[in-house]
């Protein structure tokens, strides 16, 4: 079995595993992730609490599962947001050119001038820390990437003969854009959306770690990691498990992203 194939299977199974955990976490957890049992605090992994308990005696496994649900929902919504608005802005900008293009590009270039983390931090401190704030901030931070990619493909597509042919048939510009152009530039968008999912997850964790993400007591991998810091010496599992979740998910998504990229590149097909 080739390395490519191994990576493909590893990536897909990791992604599938965490998706299942996240979906379960949204509906059911072994224990209430928010229930405090101070008498059980900082218990090591063992029967009853498979992954131990934290400083308030909350079940780490339940919290990790709930956190997976939150993280995956936030990342999905964020990616959908940036892809949706990025497609609109990019398609308009690439198809209309002229002043529309210049205005949109000025906007995205300004956004690009800030590191996405810094931009999200700034937006969050304005909007306050809550889940919708995180989604809007991250969505905006990742918008320029999608816009630029879409604009690029639309610009090359609009010179294709079949686009000209569509215009020659007298189709209105909106029709040509929706029916011929956007479906044909989806491939690269899906590819960056996959990899974006990973970086959004990471940024969201980082924000939570810094205390600017989803506010406690709701668990996320990032704020669990942050909360584990003072107890590193007494309860090392508190840091290890959320950290492992983040890195394994990212590894899975990156490998899966490579697979998606290959699938959409016709030259790689059949290899």
């Amino acid at each position: 079995m080739s390395l490519r194939r191994t990576n493909q299977i590893l990536g897909s199974s990791l992604v599938a595993f965490f998706l299942v955990v996240a979906l379960t976490g949204l509906l059911w957890t072994p224990e209430n992730p928010l229930a405090i049992h101070l008498q059980d605090k900082l218990m090591p992994p063992g029967p009853g609490h498979w992954l131990g308990t934290d400083e308030y005696g909350r079940d780490v496994l339940s919290r990790l599962m709930a956190a997976a649900g939150t993280s995956v929902s936030i990342s999905t919504l964020t990616v959908l947001c940036s892809v949706f608005f990025g497609l609109i802005l990019g398609a308009l900008s690439g198809y209309c050119r002229g002043w529309v293009d210049r205005t949109i590009m000025l906007f995205t270039d300004t956004l690009l001038a800030f590191p996405s983390m810094l931009l999200a931090l700034a937006l969050l401190s304005i909007m306050g820390t809550n889940i919708s704030g995180v989604i809007i901030a991250l969505g905006l931070a990742y918008l320029p990437t999608v816009t630029r990619v879409v604009r690029g493909s639309v610009m090359s597509l609009r010179e294709q003969d079949y686009i000209e042919a569509s215009r020659l048939m007298g189709h209105p510009a909106g029709y040509t854009l929706l029916v011929h152009i956007i479906p044909n530039c989806l491939a690269p968008v899906i590819v960056i959306a996959t990899s974006m999912f990973g970086s959004v997850l990471l940024t969201e964790s980082a924000l939570s770690f810094l205390g600017l993400g989803v506010p406690p007591p709701a668990p996320t991998w990032g704020n669990m990691l942050a909360g584990a810091r003072p107890y590193m010496e007494q309860a090392v599992w508190l840091g290890i498990f959320p950290g492992l979740c983040i890195s394994m998910t990212l590894l899975g998504i990156n490998l899966f992203g490579d697979y998606v990229r290959d699938r959409f590149d016709p030259r790689m097909r059949g290899l």
Binding site: E164, A165, S166, G170, N184
Partner: protein, 555 residues
């Protein structure tokens, strides 16, 4: 014949892909080449001619490997040669000229340095001698004032000049064999002939043997003493050129010769016939601005064109590349902005948003050159055709279906093709779909921009015949834009010759082809050989002597 007289001997060569299934690219190819001989290798795309040519000096891609046979160059086996010996062979003993003059020279190196490289690698000449040799060969390939141009970069030369430089660099070391793979395909017809002529003169002077690889049978036939015809990896016919042309043995060769365009019948058109389309002083200007506050630069691509297309008439627009013929087509189709003048359709000015605009859109259709780019890759053929009926909103479902089925059958494809995607069809089939899309709405006027230029010779003949049949049946007028005069001679009723965005000459087809008035038309015509059919085959001749144009003027 003894072995010493043979420069290159290919014996039962088999080339194939490195893959388990038996996928041979070249099957049992054998031929000999004597020193100084000129050999033509003709075949359509995918015939394996390029792979065969490249394998002669071990330049085939890594996935292509020899499965049997041998290549002997001056008695040495090329297939068993070590990398070091191969390097010595390439350049010094076997030179190569590629198709694309735009990419075969390094854009970031001056011409002088690029020509210096092979000399430095393969000879012991000192810098001064090398420079002298470079200047000598540049002079020889017809580059004026070579000493002033050594420090120029490739982009400062025209395509023809670049191909001359390629030729100079291949001939610098006076190789025993020169392989030219489609050396003039990317060049204008005018430039083509002069570059080929130069190549033949040079190889003759140096006693270099030449293998000319091309899809263009008449062109190759005219220059080569001997000919190999390849098809699907097999050499189906080989022999003396004149014999092959006069009495072709293999069915495929006969088919190739039959596919050569020939003059169609004369159809009468009166000046009083109602014009379907007219342009009045049509002009197009491109503006470019250098920087934010820079001066606006205007470049005229079309200068006030007046032309008339009558009902049912096929008007061809010919000219070298850059003559503005494609711009003219786009301007008439209103795909680009015109800066002056107007287009009259059935006597009424065509304007965006006017009452007649949608009528014009429906009645003016276009067939594009590239069959790979003109169909939406995600649309099935059925959907593409159905979309072309977009405006006929009152069609019922079954009527629409019927129209689509009729259209696909009219272009020689079956209903089975309707549910395929473009990438599942061949180039010729795609072009048929593009034609079906253009004519399904029964337009009165069709613009065909190089509609058959990207197709192989035999496929081209079929598509041309199809186009001509449909034109006879439905009587639409056609503006046929092409650089290929042979095709134009077959199809056109009237010909418009363009140069630098202006009409140079205009007239009935026979008049333009037999008694051209302008020197430019004469030069264009002189670049393509004329075919005279005999009972069994063809005889080639040139129409006019080569024009007395300076090298600078032609390229």
């Amino acid at each position: 014949m003894t072995d010493t007289e043979i420069l290159l001997s290919v014996r039962a060569l088999e080339l194939g892909l490195v893959s388990p299934n038996d996928n041979r690219i070249v099957k049992s190819a054998s031929f000999d080449l004597k020193p100084g001989e000129v050999l033509g290798l003709v075949g359509e795309s995918g015939s394996g001619k390029t792979m065969l040519g490249r394998s002669l000096f071990g330049l085939q891609p890594g996935v292509v490997v020899p499965y049997g046979g041998d290549i002997l160059f001056q008695g040495r086996s090329v297939l068993n040669m070590k990398a070091k010996d191969l390097r010595q062979l390439r350049g010094a003993e076997i030179g190569m000229v590629f198709q694309e003059p735009m990419t075969s020279l390094n854009p970031s190196m001056t011409i002088g340095r690029q020509l210096n490289e092979p000399l430095q690698e393969h000879t012991d000449l000192n810098a001064k001698e090398r420079r002298a040799r470079i200047l000598e060969i540049m002079e020889r390939v017809g580059i004026p004032a070579p000493q002033d141009r050594l420090d120029d970069y490739p982009h400062e030369f025209s395509g023809g000049m670049r191909q001359r430089i390629m030729l100079a660099s291949a001939m610098l070391l006076k190789p025993a064999l020169l392989i030219a793979d489609e050396p003039t395909t990317a060049l204008d017809a005018l430039v083509q002939r002069s570059v080929l002529k130069l190549m033949l003169e040079l190889t003759k002077e140096e006693g270099t043997a030449l293998i000319l690889i091309s899809h263009d049978l008449p062109m190759v036939a005219h220059y080569c003493e001997r000919l190999l015809v390849m098809r699907q990896g097999e050499i189906v016919e080989s022999g003396v050129t004149a014999d092959i042309l006069a009495t072709p043995q293999h069915e495929y060769t006969r088919n190739l010769l039959r596919s050569m365009p020939e003059r169609g019948p004369v159809r009468p058109f009166e000046d009083t016939d109602q014009p379907i389309l007219k342009t009045r002083d049509l002009a197009v200007e491109y503006k470019s601005r250098s920087g934010l506050f820079g001066k606006v630069d205007k470049k005229k691509a079309l200068h006030g064109i007046n032309l008339t297309v009558r009902r049912g008439e096929v008007v061809a627009v010919v000219g070298a590349s850059g003559s503005g013929k494609t711009t003219l087509g786009k301007a008439i189709a209103h795909q680009i902005k015109t800066s002056a003048g107007e287009v009259l359709f059935r006597g009424q000015a065509v304007k965006k948003g006017s009452a007649t605009w949608m009528d014009y859109r429906r009645n003016c259709q276009m067939i594009f050159q590239d069959p790979f780019g003109s169909l939406d890759p995600r649309f099935t053929i059925r959907r593409t055709l159905s979309e072309a009926l977009y405006h006929e909103k009152d069609l019922s479902r079954s009527e629409r279906n019927e129209r689509i089925c009729t259209a696909i059958e009219e272009v020689g494809l079956g209903i089975a093709h309707l549910d395929r995607l473009p990438h599942e069809l061949s180039g010729g089939q795609r072009q048929r779909v593009a034609i079906a899309r253009a004519i399904i709405g029964r337009p009165d006027f069709v613009i065909a921009d190089e509609a058959v230029s990207a197709l192989d010779v035999t496929v081209r003949a079929q598509v041309l015949e199809l186009l001509s049949n449909l034109q006879h049946r439905y009587g639409f007028s056609c503006l046929f834009i092409s650089h290929d005069l042979g095709v134009v001679e077959q199809l056109a009723d009237r010909v418009i010759v363009m140069r630098d965005g202006k009409i140079t000459e205009e007239g009935a087809r026979n008049q333009i082809f037999d008694t051209p008035k302008s020197d430019y038309t004469r030069a264009l015509l002189s670049a393509i050989p004329k075919l005279n059919r005999t009972e069994t085959g063809v005889v080639l001749s040139w129409r006019f002597d080569e024009p007395n144009m300076t090298t600078e003027a032609v390229g």
